[in-house]
Symmetry: C2
Subunit: 342 residues, 2 copies
């Protein structure tokens, strides 16, 4: 199907665009009253994520309500471990918790490589519904966590500031660590390929915990697995967003991906220098959306002026914070459109 | 009093040393059974920190038990807000909590510039006891939080992954933010000067939450206040450790300080280039101490080889994690001494 608005894909492929495309990480989420209503109807976050009709509904909401140039499938990076046989719970005010963790080869042997249609069919079904209902208005982004980030949760069992249990395993049992990372990678590749077949027009890899590794550890335990994914997905553009991995920008820029996501610590001009041949995505501090309309417009203008309007996808440097006023979000999106128009 | 071991101070001042000095952030703490015994006797963390004899006792423990080249006064960065009139509690498993927060000019008006002898005399008394009991064996490090990091806790009221309440204030009320930062800075300068008079041989400024700011915000809301402190403390060397502020290394290196602390994300060679004229301190990943003795020695050798033995103070890139085996810590310290000896 031809897309009516393919700005995101053209920008990702490095083609000329008449203005910069814009979307927001976590745009389908708690900032929208319409999302909260569906979330309440679903009963829980996990119910919402595993009910294709409802997941599809909240995926499309920001296209209608905020005017973004792409939808991103409503899901969670932790569905991959779930699909591998390691269930998790979402605890209010606390985040995800894995009742069982994976810390030994024996634990690992009990897990399978996720079968996308069998284990994660609900996400694929949601993608198919979204594609049908979007009817070509904007592209749909699929996604998965980077293997190292998924490894962190599977070994630690919950969120953590330091993920010291996860990192300890890298030092004490590198063989196990690589084996688990490989199984996650195999699952992720199969899952992303299935997302593309189901209709995803671009896929993004989130390495949310990249920033806890030293440059050496990152080269050993994260980059090679992201590389495998990038090399395996050739049908659609791939975005790599490694939060906190400022030190690996150059190497990420050399991967077989089309777009590199930046967090708000990463200077635009310096990042352009380090990553000369890719489209960049980012990177407004989400807290800017707490400011006045005038301040938001001024910050967006500065951002667009620094990145330039081409080879660029405007976004925040992290997911939008749940208490952000949707009108401020609209101001951000409109400002990108205005200041980047030819 | 002449110091028997002044390696730390000579390295800080850029003088030649026969080997690299080594100490560890959080060396006086839960890794040591001897610390835990005193902590239990005190009843609570805050009791321990506010009882000079006990604080002095745990300050000296790592000098005897681990063989470090410096003591660092056992205290907490949050004693400064406490001294300004904003008390806090330390909640087990959760960290510090301020029952009252500071978010308006009216809140701020109720706070005073801390009077070191009156409001924080217990820390100064602990310093005097440590100096007496150390009897010149090694130097004593004093410290304070950077104003922005203290601002985060005073406004947010507790720890946070994003400190979005604190950051929101920077955007919505810059005037209030600067006023609060200035009051914290004034308190901190008076406090550090009093620490030096009481006997601190070097002072370190911890900007633990530097990494949540964009480069622009850091230049506006953190650096100028650290600069005021560096300019005010001329009697002893000053170390600035801004965790996560990789983007500001060059500017920190241009401050009126003698030592720049690095976290484990920051590449040694690149940091030397960005900060050519200062002593560097850091930056082993604390998780390396979970590895085998052989691995620890190999990582320490690599670190010392990369930094070089001069203009360098060996440390971890963050505080030692509480579940680290003290024998592994000793291995780290011995390895620095061995590999850096002439």
């Amino acid at each position: 199907m031809n897309l009516q608005n393919d700005l995101l894909l053209r920008a990702a492929r490095g083609e000329e665009v008449e203005r910069t495309p814009v979307w927001m990480m976590r745009q389908a989420g708690r900032i929208l009253a319409e999302y909260r209503a569906v979330r309440e109807k679903a009963g829980s976050f996990i119910q919402l994520a595993t009910t294709p009709e409802l997941a599809a509904e909240v995926t499309i909401q920001p296209v209608d309500l905020l005017g973004v140039d792409a939808a991103i499938i409503f899901s969670d990076i932790l569905v991959v471990p779930e699909g591998m046989g390691l269930p998790y719970e979402m605890v209010e005010q606390r985040g995800p918790v894995f009742p069982r963790t994976v810390r030994t080869s024996a634990d690992l042997d009990q897990l399978r490589v996720a079968d996308p249609e069998g284990d994660l069919g609900y996400v694929l079904e949601a993608i198919r519904i979204v594609k049908r209902d979007l009817n070509g208005r904007v592209p749909l982004i699929g996604f998965a966590g980077a293997p190292f980030t998924i490894f962190c949760y599977m070994t630690e069992g919950k969120g953590s500031k330091t993920f010291s249990v996860a990192k300890k395993l890298l030092y004490t049992d590198p063989e196990f660590s690589h084996a688990l990372l490989q199984k996650i990678t195999d699952s992720t590749i199969a899952y992303l390929k299935a997302q593309v077949i189901a209709g995803a027009d671009l896929v993004q890899i989130f390495d949310s915990w990249a920033g806890i590794l030293s440059p050496d550890q990152y080269r050993t335990y994260s980059l090679p697995y992201i590389k495998q994914i990038c090399d395996a997905i050739n049908e659609v553009p791939v975005t790599v967003f490694a939060k906190g991995a400022f030190f690996a920008r150059q190497e990420i820029g050399e991967l077989n991906c089309q777009v590199v996501g930046l967090d708000w610590n990463m200077d635009a001009a310096e990042s352009r220098q380090l990553i000369p041949n890719k489209t960049l995505q980012g990177n407004l501090d989400p807290c800017v959306l707490y400011a006045t309309y005038d301040q938001i417009r001024a910050e967006v203008k500065k951002m667009v002026d620094t990145f330039g309007t081409q080879r660029y996808i405007a976004n925040l440097g992290h997911g939008v914070y749940p208490d952000t006023d949707p009108d401020k979000v609209r101001c951000f999106i409109e400002a990108v459109k205005e200041f980047s128009a030819k």
